[in-house]
Structure formats: structure tokens, C-alpha cells
């Protein structure tokens, strides 16, 4: 695999050197080979927008994109992401700093309360639309169901995704 170099053992265990490409920039980091992508982003690169929720792939708070596809970063080793294009919530805005349409839609629709799940929701929502899984409210609810929101801002999250998807389907009352 490209971008990986194994190091000798140190007092704290084996270390390896990995090059991660995050939001378009390459980062050379040394880490324990067991380090998850989530911990690498937060603790090695200081990208704390990606959140820790359950740490075993059932809440969605840590969702990022790997080569454009959504991925739970707590279930992926950082080493396995070497060579891929990693996008986090910090990399979603345009080069001019303008918010991504999904970010703007989440603000406009009050699609958040405590905000802790929001980065994961938005990363999932962008992918949901790109996958073509935002054709109706039912479909959005199904394909967004891997991202928990304990505040249950779901009606507004669905509205935000619907707006970005350009879906005009009105659900029968």
C-alpha cells in the first residue's frame, strides 16, 4: 500500500509512518498501526470536526468521505486510508470559504440542535445525494438512518437533504 512505512518498536509499542491525504493536503504522521482513522484525524491532525460517538460504527457521528464514499472513520484503520482522498467536514466548504450547499441548507432548515452529530449528518447527507438515494423523503429517511441524532432534529434534516437534492416530491399527508 502506498504511503506507509513500518517503524521499529518503541516503548509505547510499534509505530508506523503513514501519509494521509486529507482535504487535499498530504500529512506525514507516525502512529500506532492500530490507530483508527477517527483518532488519527482528531488527535494527530487536530481535525476535531469529526466526532466520537459510539466508537463502534453504530451512530454515524464520525462519518467522513473516502474517495467520495461515506465511511465510518471509527471502523477504519488510519493506515487503510493511506493513498485515498479523505474528506472531512472541515474540507467541505468551497475554496473561497463559501459553505457547501448542504451546510447552508442545514442552517436554513434548523437541522441541528446540540450540533454534535451534525458533521456526520452532513457528510452522510452529501454522499446520500451523490449516491442518488435522496429521491423522496422516504428514501432520504432510509439512507440517512445510519446517523443518529438524539435531539431528533430528523424532520429538519430530511428537509435540508430534500432541498439540496432538488426533490420536489411532496409526501402525502
Amino acid at each position: 500500500m502506498s504511503g506507509i512505512e513500518t517503524m521499529g518498536s518503541e516503548a509505547t509499542g510499534p509505530r508506523m509512518r503513514v501519509t494521509l491525504t486529507v482535504n487535499g493536503a498530504d500529512h506525514d504522521i507516525q502512529l500506532d498501526p492500530r490507530t483508527t482513522l477517527l483518532d488519527a484525524l482528531r488527535e494527530h491532525l487536530g481535525l476535531t470536526g469529526t466526532k466520537v460517538g459510539c466508537n463502534h460504527g453504530t451512530c454515524g457521528a464520525c462519518t467522513v468521505h473516502i474517495d467520495g464514499r461515506r465511511q465510518l472513520s471509527c471502523l477504519m484503520l488510519a493506515a487503510a486510508a493511506a493513498g485515498s482522498a479523505i474528506t472531512t467536514i472541515e474540507g467541505l466548504a468551497g475554496a473561497d470559504g463559501a459553505p457547501h450547499p448542504m451546510q447552508a441548507a442545514f442552517v436554513a432548515h434548523d437541522a441541528l440542535q446540540c450540533g454534535y452529530c451534525t458533521p456526520g449528518q452532513i457528510m452522510s447527507a452529501v454522499a446520500c445525494v451523490a449516491e442518488g438515494h435522496a429521491g423522496s423523503d422516504d428514501e432520504i429517511r432510509e439512507y440517512m438512518s445510519g446517523n443518529l441524532c438524539r435531539c431528533a432534529a430528523y424532520p429538519n434534516i430530511v428537509a435540508a437533504v430534500r432541498e439540496v437534492a432538488g426533490s420536489t416530491m411532496a409526501e402525502a399527508a
Binding site: 436554513a108 434548523d110 432520504i140 432534529a153
Partner: protein, 802 residues
């Protein structure tokens, strides 16, 4: 964007460059200068969507930071004879292994009664109880050592008591039992029960609920000069954390500064129970002289902290031919867990909410808080209120089925009156009752009667799938039951450039408190949202704060902030009149412009002039809720300043072969008074409804029947609602009803009351199950109504079917 002061500029939200999305009415009000009643986006929304809103774990760590983990008890009950730390201390990276003996002050984090050890002191009380505090150079190393605690412990295990019924049978209570009794004459309840034309008795079982705040418990303690600590903590109650930390260290309060910018959800779980983690991080930091962070893993959070109390009920109710209750006796048994925590106040609120929207002429409600060998149960949105009110709704449904009447007709027959039948069991006269009018409006909005007929028609032609529908009302008392907690402080700074900083004692957990308080300040000073900034809750800014709880955050802190802002506004008005002529009372503040004596000047210009004239441009503010009083022994008084109302109609479909339930449609009408922020309030209402629906349908907690392990300790096994559990049709409206009391801009609290709205879902499921039986079928359905519970309830009807 127009950089001059103007209504257009004011139309931006708290993010300077993001225009608000408002309907025409709100947009017009905003242009006219209003800052409340406006659906301003959450003050941090633009940060949240960018991943730029830091929570405690996102704050860059100071050099030398150590990480802590808590080692759990492997048994639910027993004696802890000794801990051999040597093996753990020898593990890589471990710096310290601390036990109860290492706590310099009080080994206690009980918020009311001091019965809650921080670390086990010799008695093991539940499986998962922290027995040792491990500090290491990295979080994983601390957790690895904590996981190896088992062989280090010398334990004499005992048989745990795991259910509330068992503790009740043994008479093992955490607190003295309480009874709320109101009779027209001594013995009147007994007479009413004996003489009633109809009488029903029974039991009901209601599960607990894990808060499942997405951001787990966390505290980060940093030593400061002269024996001090600065503690960043995800907590609803910074002052309580300050006190608990000081007690644990044997310090005074002024040595401890606790700060919370925001929480990733609280829901009551961070009211008292953030204390364990705040204390542990602080004990380690003070002892080692280094910053220490304690961030709980999700599973540890489940097994170490308590949650909404599960309740068991016995009841006996008498009623007439119309279904009108003539007398009721009920016993509420709460599973308190191993320590009292907030259980006393939770039970009081349960007793005071059993009536919900109904007049109970002769009534006795008994509360028993059972001691069990489980996590200590605590606050959760509603704080016992939902557990009290649900019982009476089950009773209403049973009365209707017994009499063969429409459940809504039975409910209406029992509603509190306006001029009579208007005194609660705790002897507070209800002065703001709107429940009948509100329900009438919802019945029309939801076409309730038409849909009852449609559901019946569907059920006649379908044998496997059955539909059910129910409409339930809400009345919820607002104020802390303990009167002295109903106070708040705020601090408003107007800087010489006209920008404004507001700080108050409430905490932001997603409910939009900071947004509402900033709106109140912007309104008082007549300035745009972007001119106002909220800062972190901080015990060094506002002292002796109450928890952000009991739905009172905006009521209390909004009034305190308005008090501070109005003090400054009045000083500015006095100055403006003195400088530019006219009367201070005629000076107008709106849209960043001050109008005085026929001239208009920018708010910032007046502020600059006032500063140079040595006018004080910052002020504190204070508020204490009037009228409330409470007799805690007799359980009577006026515990609530006012009531919030609401109603919901829900329609479900069930699969009678699998027990699967789906909510098809819900219609909600809710009273937020004159809303400070309609968008935020609707978010609270819908969020509370869905969260409560989870409690009553899918969120099942299971403990191992003999060893006391919590088996549902992660989202893999504990099922909270997802987007896909929300109904395709959810219609939510605010009921237009300015508060009769002069609350902040006549608004009403909106955090907890919506939890009662989802009763309609449980009762709709009950209705669908009843449709599988014959006339008068009355299923025995427990909550949560999981598929297993639904199948059991269907079987309960099969068993009695002729």
C-alpha cells in the same frame, strides 16, 4: 452587504454573513425592529455545520496532559476487601492508580443526599461502579489498565437486588416514602372507591431511558496557580460541579472554576451525574499537578451512569357512567438504583404530574423510591413528570374500553375546569387552563373523528395489519419544585465599539438557550443579532447558578439577561436625553439606531459618546421567579409558576404476526406561549416527541437477571429512534397563547412538556392491539411497546377470548 446600520443588516443571524430564512410575517416584524418572536438560526449553527464548534474534547490539550479511565466493579453487590494496585502500576504508561483512600476530601458526589461515593469505599453497589481511577500517559493505556482490574480485587460477592418490585417487597427505600393525598373529607377516597358504579384496578410497568447524549461524559481539569483548578466539563450544572470538586478536594469553592461552552446533548444526564467525572479528573489533576482528561467510552457511560427511572404502578380507580373519575389511589414505585441522586425530586414531580390535564376529586398517590443494585437513576427530560402523567392516560384508556366509550370523550369529561374543578392534588389552583380549547383545535386540525372512523373501517377489512389512533393532552408545570432554585443571574457587557457580550448561568445543550438569551438582549438594546455574542458558562462570571433543567433555562436566564440589558439601555437613554435633548422615556432603540429628540444616531455612536462621558456600559442582572412556594412535608403549595399545554394525535399500524409497529402520522399542537423563537420551539417539540416515542416503543434496557450486568450498553443493542422511525406525516403547530404570567416576553418553557405528546403513540398502539380482540378488549401492554411487548399484549387478549 450593506455595512451601514439598516434593517437589512439586522436581517442577518448570529453569523454575520448568513441571512435569516423567515416567513413574511417574521420578516416584517424583524424589519420593524423585533428581535424576539423571530426564527433566528441557532447562534452556533454556522459553526456546527463547519465542524468548528468546539466541545470539551475538541479543545487543544495542554502540554503534559494525562488521561484517566475508571475501573469498574465486576459484581453488582458485595464487599471490596482490598485492591492490589501493583500489577496495574506496572503496565505501560500508567502514572497513578487512585482509590477511595486517595480522595483528600469527601468521597461523595451525591447532589442532595451524601450517599454516593465517587470511588467504591468498601461496599460494592452495582456492576460497573468505579472502584479505581487509573491515570496514564494516553487514554488507551489508561483504559487497558482499567480493563485489567478484575484480578486485582479481593471481593466477597453478595446477592444483588435487581428489580424495584423486589426492593419494594423488602421495604428497601432510598428515601422516606411520600404520599400526596387530597380528600374532600377524611375517608372520602375510601368511600368513593367503595361507592363507585365502576371500579378498575391494575398494575403497569414502564421502562427507563438512557439519555444517550451523543457527546459522552467528559471532564478536563487543569491546575492553576495557588491551589486552583480550571475544569472544562460537559455539564448542565457548572455550580454543582464546582461544589462537588471542592468537597472532594477539601477546598473552598473559589479555588475551582468550571466552564462549559456547550454540550453535545444533556437531557438531564449531565445535571448531577457529570459530577463523578468532574471529581475524578480534578482529584487526579490536583494530586499529580498535571492536566487530566477523563473522556468516557460509550459503553462505560452506559454501565456507570444512571438514566430515567423505570416505574412500576399499582392503581385503583373509581368512575361514573360517563367515565368521570370520582376517586383514585395509586402507588408509584421508582427504581432509584444504588443511591438517592435526584430521585426525591423526581418522585415529587411524578406525584405532581399524575393528574396531567384531569381533575381528580379524591386522590391518594404514594411514591416509593426503591434501592437496587443498579446504576443510580437520575434526571431525564421531564424529570418524573412523564412517568407520573403516563399512568393517568393508561387509566383513561382503560376506563373508555371498560365503558365502551370514545377515549377522547372520557378524557374531555375529566379535563380540569376553568372556574371550578380547577385545583390540583397539591392544592394549586390552575389559572391558565386552555386544554379544552387546544384539544378542540387539534381535533379539527387532525380530522380526528374522521380518521377514527377510517381506522375502524380499515380494521374491519384487515386481519393481520391493524391500525390504531389516539389523542392525548399535555399539562406540565413549570418551575423547579424546590423554590429557591428558581433564580438566575446574567452579565451584559456593551463594549465601546457597540458590540455586546452576554453571559448567564444557563448552559447550552442544543436547546437554543444562548440563541434565545441573545435575542432578548438584542431586543432590549435594539440591535442586530450579529452585534451580540454569547460566551461560555463559567462559575467565575455568574455565581451560585441553578442547573439548566426543569425547562426553566430561557425563563430564568432570559429574564436575568433582560434585567442587565435594560439597566444599560436606561443608562444610555438618560445619557442620550441629557446630551441631545428630550426625555429619556422617549428615546427609541431599534435596528441599530437610537432616536432621540428628532435625531437618529447609530447605536455604536451613542455607546462611544456614553463611554467618553463615563457611563457604566456593563451590568449584572438577576431574576427570581415570583409566587412559587412549596411545603415539602405536606406536598402542597404553588410549585409551578404556570403550566404549559399541548396535545398530539397519533396513528399507527401494527403487524399482529411480528409485533412490528410503524407510526403513520402525528399531529401536534403545542403551547409555547408567545414563542421567543418559533423555529427553535418547533424543533424542541418535534425532537421531544420523537425522543419520547423512542422511550415508549424501542428503547429497552435489559439487565442480566442474576448478575446485574446491563446487557444493552451501546447503540448496537439499545435502539433510539432514527430518521426512519419518524412518521411520513408530522404536522406541528404552535398554539397561540401568550403566557398569563409576565414571563420573558410572555413565552413559555418548551424543553420538557413535549415529552408527554408521545403518549399518543403508545395509546394508539394499545388501540391497534385492542382491535385484535372483541368489543371491550383491553390489552395488557407494557412500555416500551417493543415487538415482543406487542405480541405479549395480543396474546393477553387471545387468552381471554371466548
Amino acid at each position: 452587504m450593506n455595512q451601514d446600520f439598516s434593517p437589512d443588516r439586522a436581517a442577518c443571524g448570529f453569523a454575520r454573513d448568513i441571512p435569516l430564512v423567515l416567513d413574511a410575517g417574521e420578516a416584517a416584524a424583524l424589519r420593524a425592529g423585533a428581535r424576539v418572536g423571530i426564527s433566528a438560526a441557532h447562534e452556533s449553527a454556522h459553526l456546527h455545520v463547519a465542524g468548528a464548534a468546539p466541545y470539551v474534547d475538541d479543545v487543544p490539550e495542554a502540554a503534559g496532559t494525562l488521561h484517566a479511565a475508571l475501573a469498574p466493579s465486576p459484581v453488582a453487590s458485595g464487599v471490596l476487601r482490598s485492591i492490589d494496585r501493583a500489577a496495574l502500576l506496572a503496565m505501560p504508561g500508567v502514572v497513578a492508580v487512585l482509590t477511595a483512600a486517595d480522595i483528600p476530601g469527601a468521597n461523595d458526589c451525591g447532589p442532595v443526599i451524601h450517599d454516593d461515593p465517587i470511588l467504591a469505599d468498601g461496599t460494592l453497589r452495582y456492576r460497573g461502579q468505579p472502584v479505581a481511577l487509573i491515570v496514564a500517559t494516553a487514554r488507551d493505556l489508561a483504559r487497558l489498565a482499567a480493563a485489567r482490574i478484575g484480578p486485582c480485587l479481593d471481593i466477597e460477592p453478595a446477592t444483588p437486588v435487581l428489580t424495584a418490585r423486589e426492593a419494594y417487597a423488602r421495604g428497601d427505600a432510598l428515601l422516606p416514602p411520600a404520599s400526596l393525598i387530597r380528600e374532600s373529607a377524611p375517608g372520602a377516597l375510601t368511600a368513593a372507591l367503595a361507592a363507585a358504579p365502576h371500579r378498575l384496578g391494575g398494575q403497569f410497568s414502564l421502562g427507563g431511558q438512557e439519555q444517550f447524549y451523543l457527546e459522552g461524559q467528559i471532564a478536563y481539569a487543569l491546575p492553576t496557580e495557588n491551589q486552583g483548578l480550571r475544569v472544562l466539563c460537559s455539564t448542565q450544572h457548572p455550580s454543582e460541579m464546582q461544589h462537588l470538586i471542592a468537597h472532594a478536594l477539601g477546598w473552598r469553592s473559589h479555588q475551582v472554576l468550571v466552564e462549559c461552552r456547550r454540550m453535545g446533548g444533556g437531557f438531564g444526564g449531565k445535571e448531577s451525574q457529570s459530577g463523578l467525572f468532574a471529581c475524578c479528573a480534578s482529584i487526579a489533576a490536583a494530586r499529580l499537578g498535571r492536566p487530566v482528561k477523563l473522556r468516557l467510552d460509550r459503553d462505560d457511560d452506559f454501565i456507570m451512569t444512571g438514566r430515567r427511572h423505570p416505574f412500576e404502578y399499582d392503581y385503583d380507580v373509581a368512575f361514573d357512567d360517563d367515565g368521570r373519575i370520582t376517586g383514585i389511589e395509586a402507588t408509584l414505585i421508582a427504581n432509584g438504583g444504588h443511591s438517592a441522586d435526584l430521585s426525591g425530586a423526581v418522585m415529587t414531580r411524578a406525584l405532581c404530574h399524575l393528574d396531567n390535564a384531569y381533575y381528580l376529586p379524591e386522590v391518594a398517590i404514594n411514591g416509593f423510591v426503591a434501592r437496587t443494585n443498579t446504576q443510580s437513576n437520575t434526571a431525564f427530560r421531564g424529570f418524573g413528570g412523564p412517568q407520573g402523567a403516563l399512568l393517568i392516560e393508561i387509566v383513561m384508556d382503560r376506563i373508555a374500553r371498560h365503558l365502551g366509550r370514545d377515549p377522547l370523550a372520557v378524557r374531555r369529561a375529566n379535563f380540569y375546569g376553568v372556574a371550578s374543578r380547577n385545583v390540583t392534588p397539591y392544592r394549586q389552583t390552575i389559572e391558565d387552563n386552555v386544554v379544552a380549547a387546544l384539544v378542540d383545535e387539534l381535533v379539527a386540525q387532525a380530522d380526528y373523528q374522521g380518521r377514527v372512523a377510517a381506522v375502524a373501517a380499515f380494521n374491519r377489512s384487515n386481519s393481520v395489519l391493524k391500525k390504531g389512533i389516539a389523542l392525548t393532552p399535555v399539562k406540565f408545570g413549570i418551575s423547579f419544585n424546590v423554590p429557591h432554585l428558581n433564580q438566575a443571574g446574567a452579565l451584559v457587557h456593551v463594549y465601546a465599539d457597540g458590540s455586546v457580550l452576554v453571559n448567564h448561568g444557563g448552559t447550552e445543550m442544543g436547546q437554543g438557550l444562548n440563541t434565545k438569551v441573545a435575542q432578548v438582549v438584542a431586543d432590549a438594546l435594539g440591535i442586530g443579532f450579529a452585534a451580540v455574542r454569547c460566551s461560555a458558562t463559567d462559575t467565575s462570571k455568574i455565581a451560585n447558578t441553578s442547573a439548566t433543567a426543569a425547562s426553566t433555562g430561557a425563563d430564568l436566564n432570559g429574564m436575568a439577561a433582560r434585567d442587565a440589558a435594560m439597566t444599560i439601555r436606561n443608562r444610555l437613554a438618560d445619557f442620550a436625553a441629557a446630551r441631545h435633548g428630550g426625555e429619556a422615556a422617549d428615546v427609541q432603540f431599534a435596528n441599530d439606531v437610537v432616536r432621540v429628540s428628532g435625531i437618529a444616531l447609530a447605536f455604536a455612536t451613542l455607546v462611544r459618546q456614553a463611554y467618553e462621558a463615563r457611563v457604566q456600559l456593563w451590568s449584572d442582572g438577576f431574576y427570581a421567579t415570583p409566587k412559587v412556594h412549596w411545603n415539602p412535608k405536606g406536598l402542597h403549595g404553588r410549585p409551578f409558576y404556570y403550566f404549559a399545554y399541548g396535545a398530539a394525535a397519533s396513528e399507527v399500524i401494527i403487524d399482529t404476526l411480528t409485533g412490528e409497529v410503524s407510526l403513520l402520522r402525528a399531529d401536534i399542537l403545542h403551547d409555547a406561549g408567545r414563542s421567543l423563537n418559533p423555529a427553535i420551539d418547533i424543533g424542541q417539540i418535534e425532537g421531544g416527541f420523537i425522543q419520547s416515542m423512542g422511550w415508549l416503543t424501542t428503547e429497552e434496557l435489559v439487565w442480566h437477571a442474576t448478575d446485574g450486568r446491563l446487557l444493552t450498553h451501546a447503540p448496537s443493542t439499545y435502539k433510539i429512534p432514527t430518521a426512519n422511525d419518524c412518521p411520513a406525516a408530522l404536522h406541528t403547530r404552535l398554539f397561540d397563547n401568550p403566557n398569563t404570567e409576565p414571563t420573558i416576553h410572555r413565552s413559555k418553557a418548551v424543553g420538557e412538556p413535549p415529552m408527554l405528546l408521545a403518549f399518543s403513540v403508545l395509546l394508539a398502539i394499545r388501540d391497534a392491539i385492542a382491535a385484535t380482540g372483541g368489543p371491550g378488549a383491553d390489552p395488557d401492554l407494557r412500555a416500551p411497546a417493543t415487538p415482543e411487548a406487542v405480541l405479549d399484549a395480543i396474546a393477553s387478549l387471545d387468552a381471554i377470548r371466548p
